[in-house]
C-alpha cells in the first residue's frame, strides 16, 4: 500500500515538543541564560570569599577592584555575593509560590472546569471579584496586617498569582472535556479515573507547563516589586529588589550599584519568559508537525 510510504517517521507527542523547542533559537538562548544564572547562584557564594552581610572597609568600590568582582555597595558588602544570593532567593521564593499557586489552580480550576454548575459559578465570580483588585494592593493589605516575614511574603505572592492559574486550568479542562475523544473514551466504558488520568490529564497539562513558566517569572517580578517598595524583604536580606532600591541614591556617581543587580534581575525574568514563550509554541498542538 503506497499511501503509507508517505507517512513520516513517528514521534511521540513529547519527542515532537522537544524537537520543536530545541529548533527555536530564542528559547535555547533563554535556557542557556537560565542555566548559567542558576549555576552562578549555586556556586557563587562559595567562590566569592565574602559573606552576603559582611561589612567591608571599601565602600562603593568599582568592579574588579580589591577582590570584589562586582564591586561593593554603600556599606562595603560584596555585590557578587549578594547578587548570587539574590538569584537563589528569587528562584526559591518563585518556585515555592508557583508550586502552591499551581496546586490551588489545578484544584479549583479542575473542580470548576470538570463539574461546572454552581461550583463553577462560585469560583468564577470569586475570580471576577479578585481581578478588580490590583495586585500590589493585595500584597500591601497582607503585609500591612501580618508584617513582612518570609512566609507572609510567599502568601502575598500566592494571593496575587493564584487566580490566573485557576482561570487558565479551568479553561483548559473545559476545553479538553468537551473534546470528542473524551466522549469516545466514555463510550468505550472507561472509568472516570481512567478518563481523567489518561485522556483529560495529559492533554490539559501542556497549558499548565506554560503557565508554570510565566508564573515563576511573575513571582520573581512581584517579589522584587514588593522589596523595592519596602513591603517585601528588607535589609539586610539580599533580595535583588532590595539592592536596586538601595542603589537609587548612587545612580549619578556609581551607576554599577544599580546596573549589576538590575541586569541580573532582568536576565533572570527574561530567560524564563523566553523559555515560556518557546514552550508555548512547542506545546501548541496546532503547530504540531510544523518545523
Amino acid at each position: 500500500m503506497s499511501e503509507f510510504e508517505q507517512i513520516p517517521q513517528s514521534l511521540s507527542y513529547w519527542q515532537d515538543v522537544r524537537a520543536r523547542f530545541f529548533a527555536n533559537k530564542i528559547s535555547i538562548l533563554g535556557l542557556v541564560m537560565l542555566v548559567l544564572l542558576i549555576f552562578i547562584g549555586i556556586i557563587g557564594p562559595f567562590i566569592s570569599g565574602w559573606k552576603y552581610d559582611e561589612l567591608g572597609p571599601d565602600i562603593l568600590s568599582a568592579p574588579f577592584q580589591k577582590g570584589h568582582w562586582f564591586g561593593t555597595d554603600d556599606l562595603g558588602r560584596d555585590l557578587f555575593t549578594r547578587v548570587t544570593y539574590g538569584i537563589r532567593l528569587s528562584l526559591t521564593v518563585a518556585i515555592i509560590v508557583t508550586i502552591i499557586s499551581v496546586f490551588v489552580g489545578v484544584t479549583l480550576g479542575g473542580l470548576a472546569g470538570y463539574f461546572g454548575g454552581w461550583i463553577d459559578t462560585l469560583i468564577s465570580r470569586f475570580i471576577d471579584t479578585w481581578q478588580v483588585i490590583p495586585f500590589v494592593l493585595i500584597g500591601f493589605a497582607i503585609i500591612t496586617v501580618f508584617g513582612s516575614s518570609f512566609w507572609v511574603i510567599v502568601a502575598a505572592l500566592v494571593f496575587t498569582g493564584w487566580y490566573s492559574t485557576t482561570r487558565l486550568f479551568r479553561a483548559s479542562v473545559m476545553q479538553v472535556k468537551s473534546l470528542e475523544y473524551v466522549e469516545a473514551a466514555r463510550a468505550t466504558g472507561a472509568t472516570t479515573k481512567r478518563i481523567i488520568l489518561r485522556h483529560i490529564g495529559p492533554n490539559a497539562i501542556p497549558p499548565i507547563i506554560v503557565v508554570l513558566a510565566f508564573s515563576v517569572a511573575g513571582a520573581i517580578l512581584s517579589e522584587s516589586v514588593y522589596a523595592f517598595l519596602g513591603v517585601g524583604f528588607r535589609e539586610p536580606t539580599p533580595s535583588l529588589g532590595v539592592m536596586i532600591s538601595g542603589s537609587r541614591n548612587f545612580l549619578t556617581e556609581k551607576p554599577f550599584v544599580f546596573f549589576i543587580p538590575g541586569s541580573v534581575l532582568v536576565l533572570l525574568t527574561l530567560s524564563i519568559v523566553l523559555i515560556g514563550d518557546g514552550l508555548r509554541d512547542a506545546l501548541d498542538p496546532k503547530l504540531r508537525g510544523v518545523k
Partner: protein, 332 residues
Amino acid sequence: MSQPLLHIDDLYVHFNTSDGVVQAINGASLTLNPGEIVGLVGESGSGKSVTAMSILGLVPKPPAIYPKGRILWKGIDLLTTPDRELREIRGGEISMIFQDPMTSLNPVYTIGHQISEMIRVHSRISAKTAKLRSIEMLDLVGMPNPAQRIDDYPHQFSGGMRQRAMIAMALSCSPELLIADEPTTALDVTIQAQILEILEKSARELNVSVLLITHDLGVVAGICDRVAVMYGGRIVEEAPVDDLFERPLMPYTWGLMRSIPQMDKVSTKRLYTIPGSPPVMSRPPKGCAFAPRCEFVIDRCHTEVPQLIEYAPHRMVRCHRVSEPDFIAVLA
C-alpha cells in the same frame, strides 16, 4: 466564435511551506464562455478552490507563487494586472461566494452595510440609492422582508438566509462571472435545494456566467452546462454534462461515479471503490497523479504526465490509454 470570457492557461500554483513546496496546481487549463454554467469537480486537495481563488488574486503571496501560466479575463492576464485595476474587476466584473455562509460575512456589520459597501465601491451612487439597490437584490434572492432585515447582523440570520445575502451581494454590481465555491456544502439538503434554485434562476435571468466549484456530482448534474474534473492539481477531464455522466473517459471520473451510492437505484451491492487516498501535494506522484490508485495503470503512467487532449469535439481527457479502443470499451 466570440472571445471566451475566461481562459485559464496552463496555470501552476505552488505554496512555500515549512513542509516543503506544496504543488497545489500543476498545469490547469479551463475556458468559460459568456452565459455558461460550468462545474469544477474535485475532492479536497485537488486544487479546485485554489484555482477559483487565483482568478480573483485572493491567494496570499507569499506563501503562494505562480511559476507558470496565465489567467486571461477577456484577454487581460489577471496575474499581472496591477492591484488597482484588479480591484475594479473583483466584485465589479467577477464576484465570488464561499462555502461557509456563517463565517463569510463580517459579524460586526449589518447585512445592508456590507451589500451597500460593495455597491458603492463599484459605482458612484449615494448611500440611499445603494440601500435601495441592496433591498432590491435581497428581494431578488427571495429574502423575506428585505427592507427590515437589511439592518440585521449576520448572526441573526440562518445559514440559508446568509447564503442568500452572499448571492445578493455577489450579484449586486451586475458581474459577468460568478464564482461559487462549494456554495451549499455547509447547508442542509432542503436549504441546498433552495439555494441552487435561486443561484441558477438569477444567473440565467441576469445572464451571468457561473463557475460552480463542488465535490458533489449531484449538484453539478443539476445545473451545469459543462463540467471539468480536477485531480491532483490538474484538470483530468472536461465535457458537456450529459456526455461526462453518460460516458466518463478518465478512470478517476469513471471510478468516482461508480463509488457514490445512488438513491434512485436502491441496492445493497458493494460499492466500487478507488483504493488508497488522494495524493499528498508536497510529494506528488511523478507521472499521472492518479496512477497509484488507478485500476488500469500501465508503466508509462508512473513516469510521464499525460497531456490534456481533445478526444472528441468538446471532450478533453488527460489519460495515456484513452487512444486504446479496448480501454474505452471497458469504461463504457
